[in-house]
Symmetry: C3
Subunit: 326 residues, 3 copies
């Protein structure tokens, strides 16, 4: 890519000039000639002087001077520019030689819409519906009565249990488990064991949702476990039965919701945080990494720690505790 | 289901009457006409007055008045009644058109007992034994010398490594890993690396055990990692090599046992809790969610926090810490 | 095995004698006649007097007296002796009747080197390279352009995404996910949703690396997520995109690195610990179990707690907190 081609993509403002063709991307400390780099803020800007990168994509407010045969493209939002460039440079995803691989087992009652691809070794049960241009990589399992929307991607090893519903434009990563039984047991009448609570509900996942590798979303006892449109779930995340997540929530790796948790819209859950059953975290709230939430969280509030409390209070507690030993 | 059919199932006491046929279940705040709901305790009872549910299944000690064309069925234990109803209403599990799908690879030395079902894409290694009426959903892998009891269910994507033993009436959820190598390494004699400790033991899982989706039970160094009868493990749980779990233990999501942990009978481990290697948690003890247990726990005791200590003391510590900053 | 055969393997010093053939291994409290046991230190040595084990493999510095028909073999390092014995006694791994199972789907452009074994139901995409004597157990998925070195073992259910590279003599355990998209999103320009950051990099895993069951290593945004030679990862571990791990690092179960974390060489991360994004843990540092690391850690230092701090300071904080409520 030339400087001009890049700027057609980004519609930014060019400072300086370079005739080098861009062949890759590097971080600012390590980028070499022929690479472009991203300069989001002052922290990265101070490395620019010594950088060998040929082009820097920089935030508008930074004042940076390109050296000979170097250029800066100033943009409104560096992250959005990065997305454009990465999409332009992305290698082709794995190739399907045919729409439905002959080794896939597809029940004759299943509906596979136009442009959908079914990889080798997939299993598609009875009455499954698969939308247009949806891609199942090899060794995906969809049990009976599953519905998958259009342009959704399911990576290898993922399992979607019977009756679950996944929307359009979702990405389900490898080895994710959607619709396993919720975890519920009742002491047996003789007090000597546990009786399994049946989970006869399902999971309903909206549009534009991403579920990370090896993450689990359990089916509801009755009714549905629900993930709202645009919600993004990282790897190794547990979502308990009957939890209801709003739109555009984010849960980072190793975090978990016990059963019947409610998240509003735009809730952020940090990595390794866990949320008690039957609690509600209202819209726009943030739970810090590693926190253990044991009570409802108000809209827009940030909580932190174990047990989670107002983040500023928790930071004060941490300071107080350090002072205690001085 | 009519009111009378329901009560034949529950053997409770009917108050009021309704001629509505029950077509579904709702929680008490949202249930509509034609649905039944469950009223476990006072907390839920106060919603009854405004509920549109046609039937309420209620604990005996609650005084509730049905409105016109509404009924209450009073029962001894609401949760056990719920289990009966959910079992009665459960949709059919995924259907197998034949006992052993032709795409499954079953070694000729394996024994598949009467009534067992093997789904598409399963792999059954040498000398594997599968008991009567046991079900393997598609894409399950059982390596050589595995023994599975009767009426056990193994969901898609689960892997059981060589020589492991699973009892009767167990449920192994999707993408669970049974029998992977334990995690043990010894500094190499030259101090420059790590030498792998071989793990030549296996995993033995008793009867009526449930292992959650994407959970892991590692094989023993020598001897066996053992899960006692009736023990229930949630999703994304790690059980380290040589751990010994008693009967009817419960481990919630994202929790973990390091190696050589011993749990007595009826031990409860909360979500995201982790237990140090070589510790013993005696029968009837409870570990609170998010706790980090670093020492043995006495029988019947409840511990909490990180590091885990007596739960009442930990709650006092939390209060003291909050007071410190006031 | 006889006493003499054992000692030929261990090259230790025999005290006492026994004519019993060793048929198994037991821990010192439970070992019976015909079994050998390991005596690493004083803690175990005090059980020797009452042990029925026929042979004890003991550390040189312990003074232990064998009873009639019992023997002690004194060795320099008990753990290395244990490794030798376990390797000698290990049962045969699962057997392959043929090199490439006919039910495996192997693209014709893939290169399968001499002595490699491909199990039933595996999928091998375009341009994949598999080294000599590498073993893929049934139902492994390798997508396009993956490179696997020599003598590597990949257990069932593991998925390696396109363009990822795994070295020689590695072990990838069941249901591990290598190369899923990193977790990164940018608020959409209208502020009403999240735009996915493409992850066009890959994962590069060195030689002698072990990845536990159901663990996840995410691909880089650009460039590579890197695991250095000899690094050992336990089960259910999350390694975020663009993290760089040095040589011989150890991460225990349920732990996690957020994105762009750097580990030096020989870093030890305890179980359930989590590390904030963009932090560096320098060579030889140790992170205690359950810790939450929010800042860089100096070389050789041990940190503990949440938020993680110098381990001795954290232990003092815990003591101070306990005193506060007395």
């Amino acid at each position: 890519m030339t400087l001009q081609q890049l700027n057609e993509l980004l519609e930014g403002e060019i400072i300086g000039s370079t005739d080098v063709n861009i062949s890759g991307i590097g971080d600012i400390e390590n980028a070499t000639e022929g690479q472009l780099t991203f300069i989001r803020n002052r922290k990265y800007a101070r490395y620019w002087e010594n950088s060998s990168a040929s082009i820097g994509i920089a935030a508008k407010n930074l004042s940076l001077t390109p050296k000979d045969n170097q250029a800066i493209i100033k943009v409104d939002q560096v992250d959005l520019s990065m997305i454009k460039i990465l999409n332009a440079l992305a290698p082709k995803p794995p190739v399907f030689d045919m729409d439905v691989h002959p080794s896939a087992v597809v029940d004759k009652s299943a509906i596979i819409s136009e442009g959908a691809k079914i990889g080798a070794g997939c299993y598609i049960g009875k009455n499954v519906f698969i939308g247009k241009e949806t891609i199942l990589y090899p060794n995906v399992t969809l049990l009976d009565d599953v519905m998958i929307g259009h342009q959704t991607t399911i990576w290898s090893g993922a399992v979607v249990r019977e009756q679950c519903v996944i929307g359009d434009a979702c990405i389900i990563h490898s080895n994710a488990s959607i619709g396993a039984d919720g975890f519920g047991f009742v002491p047996s009448p003789d007090g000597r064991g546990l009786v399994k609570m049946p989970h006869i509900g399902n999971v309903i996942i909206g549009n534009g949702v991403e579920i990370g590798a090896n993450s689990c979303v359990d089916r509801a006892k009755f009714g549905s476990t629900v993930l709202g449109d645009g919600t993004k779930i990282d790897n190794l995340v547990q979502i308990g039965h009957n939890s209801i997540l709003g739109r555009s929530c984010v849960m980072a790796g190793n975090s978990g919701l016990a059963g019947s948790v409610t998240l509003g819209d735009g809730v952020m859950i940090g990595g390794s945080a866990s949320i008690k059953d039957h609690t509600t975290i209202h819209s726009g709230a943030t739970v810090g990494a590693g926190s253990g939430v044991m009570a409802d969280v108000e809209a827009g509030k940030t909580v932190l720690g174990y047990p989670a409390t107002d983040a500023r209070d928790m930071l004060k507690q941490w300071v107080a505790l350090r002072k205690l030993i001085e």
